[in-house]
């Protein structure tokens, strides 16, 4: 099944290859990895999604925890969590198709962030399935390029009645 791991680490030399290597060393692929500065100066958070057997993922999480650079590892999979992904989609457009593209962009609460005579670039944020759906709707117009961040995720704090 799909797992979402959140790894907080000190981004020292060679830290990212060490983290990634624990997956490849077990024959596992990383489906998406998103890395950026975390809440504390000097700390970095990676959100990693992968598909694999629970026991293997648990072992990877334990091994991640053992890495000297890693401060904290959470497998969000079995907890409520919020996740978002950002995609930039450059779609072919003509004066004739523009209104329809704008309509689709509105429905997905996406944004047009660049426009040229032949293309529009759309910014979509949301969960993976929403991004997939928006891209699916844009595909018939002709997609030139896509850049996706992969998921970023945090544990949901509100869990039940207030």
């Amino acid at each position: 099944m799909k797992h979402t791991l959140s790894v907080l680490f000190e981004n020292e030399f060679n830290a990212i290859p060490r983290i990634v290597g624990l997956f490849s060393g077990r024959g596992y692929s990383i489906d998406s990895i998103s890395i950026g500065a975390a809440e504390e100066a000097g700390l970095t958070r990676a959100t990693i999604t992968t598909i694999g057997e629970e026991q293997v993922i648990e072992q990877i999480a334990k091994q991640l925890n053992k890495l000297v650079d890693v401060i904290k590892v959470v497998d969000l999979t079995f907890e409520p969590f919020v996740e978002r992904e950002l995609a930039l989609v450059k779609v072919h457009s003509t004066p004739a198709t523009r209104p329809e593209i704008v309509q689709i962009v509105d429905i997905f609460r996406a944004k047009i962030i660049d426009i040229s005579t032949k293309t529009m670039t759309v910014e979509i944020t949301g969960k993976e399935d929403k991004v997939d759906a928006a891209i699916g709707m844009l595909r018939p117009f002709g997609i030139r390029e896509i850049a996706r961040t992969g998921a970023v995720a945090l544990k949901r704090e509100f869990q039940g009645q207030a």
């Binding site: 290859p17 091994q63 053992k66 000297v68």
Partner: protein, 574 residues
Amino acid sequence: MQNRQSVPSKPKTKSEPEILTGSDILIRALLEEGADTVFGYPGGSVIGLYDTLVRHPKLRHVLVRHEQGATHAADGYARATGKPGVVFVTSGPGATNTVTGIANAYMDSIPIIVFTGQVASTMIGNDAFQEADIIGITRPITKHSYLVKKAEHLPRVVQEAFLLASTGRPGPVLVDLPKDVLASKAPYIRKEGVAIRGYNPTYEGHTQQIAKAAKLIMEAKRPLVYAGGGVTLADGSDDLRALAMQGRIPVTTTLLGLGVFPEDHPLSLGMLGMHGTYAANMAITECDVVIAVGARFDDRVTGRLDAFSRESKKIHIDIDPACIAKNVPVDVPIVGHIKNVLPILVSMVKKTDTAEWLGRIEELKKGHPLKYTTKPDLIAPQHVVETFADLTKHEALVVTDVGQNQMWAAQFYKFKNPRSFLSSGGLGTMGFGLPAAIGAAFGRPEATVVCFTGDGGFQMNVQELATAVKNRLPLKIAILNNGYLGMVRQWQELFFEKRYSQTYIQEGNPDFVRLAEAYGAVGIRVVRPEDVAPAVRQALEVKDRPVVMDFIVDPEQKVMPMVPAGASIMNMME
């Protein structure tokens, strides 16, 4: 190994820190960590470091003849002493030659620190002469690694490297040293104590978990201690013995656990697993509580997992949380240092009733002792091991290569003391024996060091004979020479219809006696069984150089008993 290195504070006499070269800083930092011996081999990018060594006679440098020998020697030194082994090599091929030794140390959790030369910082990534991305190459086989970018970082890097290598679950650390960093000057500033935010091994076991374990043990009818290399690494042999005696619990050990419990003790079952004793394998199959201490349920121990010790509850004590429940589900996990956990556990185990179980153990041991058949006029390799054991009173420091020689040494020497059996367990590295024996001899100069090896493995690092001769190490190198890559030959005989594909090495083998003499060692060939003991006695008399003993042994001897690969450990071929 339990607590972080505490370094005696030196009185600060100078207000201004000294300005030194990177090489000087490195050596000074090593001496501060208590290093006394370095195994190494010079080369272009570390010429400056080697030049600096001349000014530091306190740090003994042992010149090996191949960098793989350096890592195995450092590994042997660490296994024999408990102190981290240190290696110096040059960049590129010097560094890549250390890889097998690093992997070997990683698999067996041995603390070594490998300092590799590197091309100048400005050249890194340019495919410069003798450049290799050794940090990248060794990433999956090191506990941690450093690329030192400034000479002023060296004191801290060395402190951290020693801390990481020797604490928690020990392991190899690699430090890559660009040539310009070694040559540049910086103030030597060393701060006392070192803490790494992301590195906090759990030393204290959870008291409630230990209490649960004690309860299980007291309720058990058929408890069994299964002790591994972690007990050796933690120097926890006394605590383990106390647990066994207190609870009247029989003990089996893994290959790397040999020696942590005296094999002549009535509670000892010897080694378990693929070539373990019948009694040990049956005991772990029949027992109702397994107390795994510093062991990792390796596949050579468990055999087929779904048939392994099905009736038992499992207590697992290990410092590495990732080790627990990795292969086998565990009922009572205890993460902590053996030296902390076992005394508490011993104090809680009040009363056990194992009399009936010990009767069963005795019956298993009596019914199925380790044995071998002898043929007239042919030396049985097991007899060579037994002769050494007798004549060294089971107290030599035994180092082995890998394969049949290793298993016969493990089965027939009958170890009494921890850190007296040094062997490549996890990686199974042929060629380990001789260089590791050299490292062990440097670490424990008072010990009688015996290296059991084969005609195959000996030739994999035979160049280190020069290192042993140069340093007048009185190693007893016993080649159990059967003219074959014996363990593979054994499998071919049993499972591949005697098709001995590429395992016959007799043709091409050198005359080992003349080879030894060419190096300046003593060579002794032994062909007849009745000459074994006199030859061993003769070898033990030699005190000033290595002795290479070429025992021409029965080529058809197999390591028995044996669990075929993938079978349950209940199904032993005897």
